[in-house]
Structures are given as C-alpha cells and as structure tokens.
C-alpha cells in the first residue's frame, strides 16, 4: 500500500466518522426529520472497499448506507441536503437518509427494505455482462440480508451466470435489537455457508482498513478477469443505536462491556497509530486532515440548512416519465 493510498483511506474513514458524528450531534435540532442509521464504528469497510472500486464501478446498499455512499465518492452536500429534506438533496427530498443516489459516482441507490437492492446489484452486473464491460457491481449488505430469500435467489443467479458481482457483507452482529444467535444457527459462518453456492468467499477483520482494501482489491481483480462473483464478510460493530443518534448499551440487548471491547478496536486510531509509526503521516498532517474535514462537513450542513425545501406541489411529481393521468 502506497503512503498516498494509506492517507486516502485514513482521510476517508475520518470523513465518514465526522459526518456521522455531526448528524448525531445535530439530530435533536429536528431539522433532519427522517430515520437515520449511522455507520459509526463501521467506517473501515466503506472506506476500504470504496477505494478499491473504480469510479465507474457501481454500488448499491441498504438502510445503513451513508458510509457506502461517501466511500464510493457520493456527493456530501447532496447527502446532507437529502437528510434535511431539501430540493438540493440527492433525491430531491423524496428519499431521505435511506434512499441515497449519486450515479455520477457510481452509487446507484440504497433502499430501506433489507435485501431489496441485492438483486438490483446483480441485475446491474447482468447489464455489464451483456454490454461486455469490465465494471464490477458491488452490493453492500448486512448479515441480516443472509436471512432473506431474495439474497439466496440473487446469489444463485450471480453464480449461475458468473456475473461481475462483489458482495460485501458487514457483520455487525445485531439486527435492530436482535442478536445473531436468535437469527442464525450458532457455529455457522455466512462466508462459509455461501461457498456452498459456488461463490469464492472470504472473511476478514472489518475494522482493519488495510485488510479490507487488500481483500476487496484482490476480489475485484479476480472479478474483472472474468472470475465471477466474490463474497467478502467483514466482522465489525455499530456503536450507536440501530436507528438514531444515541448510544443504547443500557437498554438490555447488548452490554456496555461488549461495546467497549469493540470500541477498543476502533478502526481509525488503530490505522492512524500505524501510519504515524511508519512515518507515512505526521501529527501535523493529521491535524490538517481533520481541519479540512471539519470545514467540508460544516459547509455541507450549512449548504443543507440554507437550501430551499422542494415546492409543495412537487409532492406527486416524478412518478411517471411523462405526464400520465
């Protein structure tokens, strides 16, 4: 990994963290009036995979998509404005936090129904196959997606047609308040299970951005060379509540101790220490990075806050291509 790339990954993680923390901080202002699912603690996967993809590769995601959108290069102003319900939002206020899109960056959409974009990502890859391009379609999922029927259907088709799909599964152990053990049999690993479908699969530390980037790059290379779909499962942990800005270690579904254990594996300081030790980044460099991020994030919230709301008559618009009764 070049020092440039290392700094890029650090920057990307810090930027995602700053955006998410700022949302959490300002959520109580009641200006962001939609459910948000924050990715704090899970930045390494989005940053690592995002940097391994080309801009013209495509990605889809689910409800917890801020990090994936940003990691893929999605426009920050348009995302924050969307959460504010503004006309300048990436979905013009129709979608909110759970429906992000930036096709210019190859982020083709995130939706709220768990597993809902998995076949869409596979369909994008079918298009790539028909049109003979060397793009890759990246599908970000959480471990609960491996409990939906549509996932298995889509996985089967991706393998059947040898499609250029990279499945990236963030296993954060909890679906809302439901721990993995009540949802999937103990002792079964998702990445092992899917190999039964004939897909190349691997597991990795989702809080190690270098490991993520390296595994994603290797998989993407293989996919581009016609190797068919690949599946990567990364262990990670969401710090805050399922939906909303708060910590919820006190309500009884998981413990403070478990959270602290994962917090100690925070992907950002861990990578930062490593880069400092290798002198690939300096303390002053980090401070510059943080200042630049703070400026950008402040500007994005300012942009969102100042942007106009869509006109009320826009409520029913954009349903059909042409005006239709």
């Amino acid at each position: 990994m070049t020092p440039d790339l290392a700094r890029q990954l650090l920057f990307s993680m810090k930027r995602i963290r700053a955006v998410e923390e700022t949302i959490a901080e300002r959520y109580s202002e009641q200006k962001m009036r939609c459910p948000t699912h924050l990715s704090v603690g899970q930045e390494a996967v989005a940053a690592g995979v995002g940097a391994a993809l080309r801009r013209d590769d495509l990605a889809v995601s689910g409800h917890r998509a801020h990090a994936h959108y940003l990691g893929k290069g999605g426009d920050l102003n348009a995302m924050i404005a969307e959460i504010y319900g503004k006309e300048t939002g990436c979905s013009r206020g129709k979608g909110g936090s759970m429906h992000l899109i930036d096709e210019a960056a190859g982020f083709m959409g995130s939706t709220a129904i768990v597993g809902g974009t998995v076949p869409v990502g596979v369909g994008l890859a079918y298009g790539m196959k028909v049109k003979r391009t060397d793009q890759v379609s990246c599908i970000f999922i959480g471990e609960a997606v491996a409990e939906t029927g549509v996932f298995f259907e889509a996985l089967n088709f991706a393998v059947l047609k040898k499609l250029p799909v990279l499945f990236v599964c963030e296993n954060n152990l909890y679906s809302v308040y439901s721990p993995l053990r009540v949802r999937q049999p103990e002792g079964r690993a998702i990445h092992t299970m899917v190999t039964g479908f004939g897909i190349a699969a691997e597991a990795g530390d989702g809080n190690d951005v270098q490991a993520v980037h390296s595994a994603a790059s290797t998989a993407i290379d293989a996919i581009r060379k016609g190797g068919g779909p690949h599946f990567l499962e990364f262990a990670t942990f969401r710090w805050r509540e399922h939906c909303g800005p708060l910590y919820d270690n006190d309500i009884g579904y998981r413990s403070e101790a478990e959270f602290q254990e994962w917090k100690a594996k925070d992907p950002i300081p861990r990578f930062e220490r490593e880069l400092l030790a290798k002198a690939e980044v300096t303390a002053a460099g980090i401070a510059d990075m943080e200042r630049a991020i703070a400026r950008e994030v402040d500007a994005a919230f300012e942009f969102a806050d100042r942007s106009p709301f869509p006109p009320a008559h826009d409520a029913g618009a954009g349903l059909y291509a042409a005006a239709a009764g």
Partner: protein, 351 residues
C-alpha cells in the same frame, strides 16, 4: 398486415423489439423451452442468443430485481410469468423498487421494465392459477397496468410497454391467446393510456377489459339485433386510466355497466363506478352497475365453475336491467357450443 393469433402477436412484438433495440432482453421460466410460453417466446433465443433470451431460476422476486438492475444499467428487460399467481412472489421488488425508484430518487432514474403475467381460467386452473389482480397493481402509484383484448393491441401495446420508460405490468388473459386478428407488421406501437371504443351506441355504456371485452362484444351484437345500442369501451390500459373516454361515454348515455375479470370487492370496476358516481351523479339515468367474479377463489372442478364467471348472457341481462327492460339472453348462451370451462375447442388443457 397479417392474420395472427394473440399469442403470435405477442411473439411478433417481442421479435420486433429484440430486432429494433439490442438493449431489449426477454426472460422468464420456460422462455426458451420447447413450448416457448404458449408460443409467445418460441425460438427467439435461436435468433437473438441466449444472453438476450433466456430461461431463469425459479426465483421470481430476485429475477424481478435483476430486471430492475438491468434496466438501471440501460437494458429494457421483459420478464414473463406463465401465471400471474407466481408473480406474487415478486411483490416486494415490484412495489418497493420498480414502482418507487423514479419517485424516491427524485425523478432521476426510470425503471423501464415490462412484466408479462398470464392469467389462467377454467379447465381446472383453480384457486392459484386463475387470479386477475389488476386492481392490486393499479393500486400502486408508479406502475402502469396494461390489459390488451385483441391481437393487434397485444402487439402494439406490448411494444409500447417495452419502450415505455416506466415499469409496466402487462396482463395477458390465457383465453385470448388463440384469438385471431389482423396485426400490422413492424414496429406498430399503440399508445398506452388510451381506451378504444369497439362499438358505438346510445343506450348504455359498457366498460370492459381483457377477456371481458370479448364476452361483451357477443352481448352487444346480440343486443343490437334487439334494438338496444351499447357504447362498448375496451380500457386497454388500466392504470393510468383513460378516464376522459369512459366519462364522456357514460355522460352521453347516462347509463354505465362495468365488467371486470377480477374479484368484486375493491376492483377496477368498483373504482370506475365510484369515480363516475362522484363526477356525473346528476347526469345518470340509472344506478351504475358492475359485473365481476365473486369474492371467492375459482374452484377447480368444472362442476363448481359453471356459474363463477361473467358471460355474454349475464352482460345482456344486466344491460336490460340498467334500461329497465327484460332481455331474454338464453339464445346467447345457446350460441356457445363448447363446454363452459374452455374458451373454445382449441383449448384442451393442461394449462
């Protein structure tokens, strides 16, 4: 112009679309099998290759999502279900993704997919091979719902659906597949969202769709011989509805009978009756009427289906009721020489 069956007209439309635009792809269970979905996709894979015309896993929901993704990539997928009832497995993708995509991403991107669903009837199709759920799809903002009744419309409206930029649910009644009609050659698209007036008359407006249009034609021609003239409107597109045509006719005649291939409660006929009652109450000379199938599944045994569906004789009698006249429609029933549970001698099962 060629004399084709409805099923041949569908194939003609698919072939025309596949030839005209390399972004068109056609898939569904059995799309390239020896029967080719009642002949509608027969051997197209030989001409256009197995990447563009292909069979698929029995994964209706994911394959609908695959169609959506392929459409987002720039293709124009046509997905076929041999029975509508199987497409119910794909409601999540249809309702939450296909129908919403354009809207929920601020109008930035369309999902130009066409989903053909074939509706069975009679000859033991039974509870889960015979459902007419056009009202369900019409209920969902963002979907278009098309139900052709003639061979010409089958081709013209399917072509229009494929090249339309919105998701279209294209409902083919199996009992229409063998119906013959003149079909224009080439890219003979017909506009969506336009009803067609099949018979002009002054006494009663009859609004029908799909196979009900055929039964209505028998009834209307029979009534004409008895001096009762009906305006017969074939909806062709269920959503968005050509309300202008329906309302203009009903205002002119002051009497409305709506025919529906679907269940009674919450159906398309119910919607039309409600809308007309609200918009033209003062101009109606009689209460609007509807004829639909009962709120019960279609049974399998022929002994249980004889009275289930609306036939020409029921339509003629209902027109008489709306006019306050007694119509003896027994002769109409007598014109039918084949058993009640098949569309004609051509259909001998199994599906």
């Amino acid at each position: 112009m060629a004399l084709l069956t409805f099923a041949e007209a569908i194939r003609d439309a698919l072939k025309t679309a596949l030839s005209a635009d390399t972004s068109v792809i056609v898939f569904g269970l059995g799309a390239d099998d020896p029967k080719g979905v009642f002949g509608t996709t027969l051997n197209l894979h030989k001409e256009f290759g197995s990447e563009r015309v292909f069979d698929m896993p029995t994964s209706e929901n994911a394959m609908t999502g695959v169609a959506i993704g392929a459409a987002l990539y720039g293709l124009r997928p046509v997905l076929t279900h041999q029975r509508l009832d199987f497409a119910l497995l794909s409601l999540d993708q249809l309702v939450n993704n296909a129908a919403k995509w354009r809207f929920m991403f601020g109008g930035r991107r369309a999902v130009p997919i066409t989903v053909r669903m074939i509706i069975g009837r009679g000859w033991g199709q039974g509870p889960t091979h015979s459902q007419n759920l056009q009202a369900w799809f019409a209920h969902i903002p963002g979907l278009k719902v098309v139900m052709p009744s003639t061979a010409e419309d089958a081709k013209g409206l399917l072509l229009a659906s494929i090249f339309d930029d919105d998701p279209v649910i294209f409902l083919e009644h199996r009992w229409l597949h063998n119906l013959r009609g003149d079909v224009p050659a080439g890219d003979a698209r017909l506009p969506l969202c336009k009803a067609r007036r099949l018979r002009a008359g002054d006494n009663v407006s009859i609004v029908a769709m799909s196979y009900m249009t055929i039964e209505a034609l028998h009834a209307v021609d029979f009534l004409a011989r008895q001096g009762i003239s009906c305006d017969l409107i074939d909806l062709r597109t269920i959503k968005p509805l050509d309300w202008e045509t329906v309302e203009a006719s009903a205002r002119r005649t002051g009497r409305l009978l709506v025919l529906d291939t679907g269940y009674t409660t919450g159906g398309v006929a119910a919607e039309i009756v409600a809308r007309l009652s609200m918009s033209a109450w003062g101009e109606l000379k009689a209460a609007p009427r509807r004829l639909a199938v009962p709120d019960a599944p279609e049974a399998t045994s022929p002994a249980l289906t004889a009275g289930y569906h609306v036939r020409a004789e029921h339509i003629a009698t209902a027109v008489g009721d709306v006019l306050g006249k007694s119509v003896d429609a027994r002769a109409l029933a007598g014109e039918r020489k084949h058993p009640h549970d098949v569309p004609g001698d051509w259909f001998t099962g199994p599906f």
